[in-house]
Amino acid sequence: MFNVKKSVATVVAAAGLAGLLGVSPGQAQTLNVVMHSDLKILDPIWTTAYIVRNHGYLVWDTLFAMDDKLAVKPQMVDKYEVSADNLTYTFTLRDGLEWHDGKPVTSEDCIASIKRWAAKDSMGQSLMARVAGMKAVNDKTFTMSLKEPYGLVLQSLAKPSSNVPFMMPARVAATDPNTQIKPEDVVGSGPFIFKRDEWKPGEKTVYVKNPKYKPRSEPASGLAGGKVVKLDQVVWRSVGDHQTAVNALLAGEVDMIEAPPHDLLQVVAKDKNIKLFNANPLGSQYTFRFNVLHKPFDNEKVRQAVLYAFNQKDFLNATIGDPKWYKECKAMFICGTPLETFKGWEDKLNSNFDKSKALLKEAGYDGTPVVLMQSTDLAVLTNLAPVAKDLMEKGGFKVDMQAMDWQTLVSRRAKKDPPDKGGWNAFLTSWVAADVLNPVMAGFFNAGCDKAMFGWPCDAKIQELRDAFAKETDPAKQKALAEAVQVRVTEYPTHVHLGQWYSPMALRNNIDGNIAAPVPVFWNVTKK
């Protein structure tokens, strides 16, 4: 017989226990994610750190975005017009765009945001050097007038990686670009809202669905299209230890790891509840950077010798290991992109040690050791320097490899001092492919002497070609110019590309809808 008393008691007891355990009925659909790093800085314009860029894509939106074919598509912009002389761009914003505080997104907000971004970003600086002025026509329409035709206006505004031209309210964008915005100013118009009161660095960062966000009608593609949010909240859990993050995924405590280390992929793949998903089909590119200020790399011929001594496979095998997750590619602007070309590199990166030695002899190399900085605390970089040392020594170089943590390397690479006084000759790093898609975007091609990135290459011809590329609006001619830059880099080496590699995310099987894009994004994702 049905015992009412007992049933009520059971329900009450269960409710009490549930309350004690913190379980509430109809729990929000929450995606628990372990990102590659903890979020400490909130301003994606102030820093170029990728974790802050990823945070930016949740909170803020962009005027334009690149789809999965790297074509530029309008995002916040509804329509745009380019004048016949290519000197005036008119942008009209979509209807219903609203900041998280309820105020409408206006032209003035966008103009202020572009200015702040351009003050920090190299593509932005290049763009603003050609901009005569920006003017709000009305609340939803603004114009950008150029001094001369510039082929990268839309590509700049759709720049996918750091610094991304995120649109911010004018009052926030008025912040000095060299000052970080305040946590209370993390107000965007993007698909998620940053929960400032729940942001606990070292513990978690919480984003909730923006109920007022109006996604575009097109399907999501790359970073473009409709950003339809299908989760109630996304929580970035800070788990400092990779093994712990993997254990938490196996135990179902987290739903996704953005970038599990390659040596743990096999462990993850063995579990039937876990799947791997390569969200960034273009991957990342390993790079060897020269410092041209000091001997022996102040000599172009000596740098050319490195191009012959290296081969990509040794680097990729030593770091990634499994060929499933890497690709040899001699195209500096990434294989599989519109600017893919192998020109100039056909006979290089084949470990032709005889040619390397011959070039060193021709250059009069006197045995000055190359001070090679090795970062030892990032698994994806640690083994690069020993391979470089080995190949260079086989190619006739003397190498002084110095081990240090990545942060020390980052500090030291900014120093122009000679290697024996705390400076350096070379180091290895990795770029997300989205950062190196063309010669203007990719910072290591900047050969503007003191204005160039660390390594400070100085070559007027490269600069002319980059400038011509920036001005060119015809894609075919742009490709020819990119090819010319690539060839010129074989004559005046600024850096060496050492292959592409991929870092899949690890997901529980109940997570679906992840979008392939150069940046991990959380719209379209579902949790069953």
Binding site: T48, R237, Q407
Partner: protein
């Protein structure tokens, strides 16, 4: 006694001064530039210089030190280079997990190690004694993170009894808090148990050979009374000393344990701050650890008088 406490408290000042100077100089002399780290990989030298200026890192070291120490004397530990939060706020957010871990570890360690040590001494040379000593050697030898991963594998992944990582604040959900404290506390307690059990055994063993123990036994007291009231109480001073010294072990162990179990405590804050060269945070945390260490040892010194009336200050 009050005079002793006052003297010990005053003695903290030179200790902290030396710690402050040492930490400040060490951080400035070791390689690594917070401005370059903040700026990110794509930053230019100009951008890094701008950030360095904004953080005041372009000033001479002694100017930086005087500015910092001046603020510290006013109770202001400055603002973290990264978090756009005051260091005091950051520490306040992170104290609870570390404190909880330390207290749980101490409780587990003391209630396990002291009886084990006493029993090992009482059954000197027996299998139990050898097991305790063997465990003690093992506890010292196996690194904390190895113990952590083994426990996680068994109890969280294979058996699914306990969570792998994370922390729930005690005020939010008590059972959730307890669940998440078990594995980290046991992990960290292993080395502590090894240390205390070994010292307890040695101290009790020494006391058991004293004349007054023989007298107590001759009076017909039970073994339990002899052990607990006479032997253990007289052996307590070295045990308390070890517990005090072990606080340093606890602090260093917490750094590793918090990383392995994803606890958002002061240990992880220290690691993160060191890796990102967040000078104000590192300086404040090290000063805090120093104060805690000194104060706990003061409390231990005072507690000697409770166990041994011959000790007076």
């Amino acid at each position: 006694m009050l005079d002793f406490i006052a003297r010990r408290l005053v003695a903290i000042i030179p200790v902290l001064t030396v710690v402050a100077i040492f930490v400040f100089l060490m951080l400035r002399l070791t390689p690594g530039d917070p401005a370059a780290i903040i700026a990110g990989d794509n930053a230019t030298s100009d951008q890094i210089d701008e950030i360095r200026r904004a953080l005041g890192l372009d000033e001479p070291i002694w100017t930086q030190f005087l500015i910092w120490i001046g603020k510290v004397l006013q109770g202001n530990f400055g603002e973290s280079f990264f978090f756009k939060k005051t260091v005091a706020e950051l520490i306040a957010q992170r104290v609870e997990p570390t404190l909880a871990l330390a207290v749980c570890t101490l409780i587990i360690a003391v209630i396990t190690a002291v009886p084990l040590g006493v029993l090992a001494a009482y059954r000197h040379g027996s299998l139990l004694d050898r097991c305790v000593m063997g465990f003690s050697v093992l506890g010292f030898s196996v690194p904390v993170f190895v113990i952590g991963y083994i426990l996680i594998y068994i109890f969280a992944i294979e058996l699914g009894w306990l969570p792998v990582q994370g922390y729930i604040r005690i005020g939010v959900n008590f059972w959730g808090f307890l669940e998440r404290m078990v594995l980290p506390s046991v992990t960290l307690a292993v080395i502590y148990v090894a240390l205390i059990a070994r010292i307890t055994r040695a101290s009790v063993l020494e006391v058991l050979n004293e004349d007054y123990i023989r007298t107590a036994r001759a009076k017909g007291l039970t073994n339990r009374v002899v052990l607990m009231r006479h032997a253990l109480r007289n052996a307590a001073v070295p045990i308390l000393t070890v517990i005090g010294i072990g606080i340093a072990l606890l602090i260093s162990g917490a750094v590793v344990t918090e990383s392995v179990y994803g606890l958002p405590g002061l240990g992880r804050l220290t690691v993160e701050a060191v890796l990102s060269r967040d000078f104000p945070t590192i300086q404040a945390v090290i000063l805090l650890f120093s104060v805690v260490y000194v104060l706990i040892n003061l409390v231990i010194d005072i507690s000697y008088t409770l166990f041994d009336p011959r000790i007076r200050y």
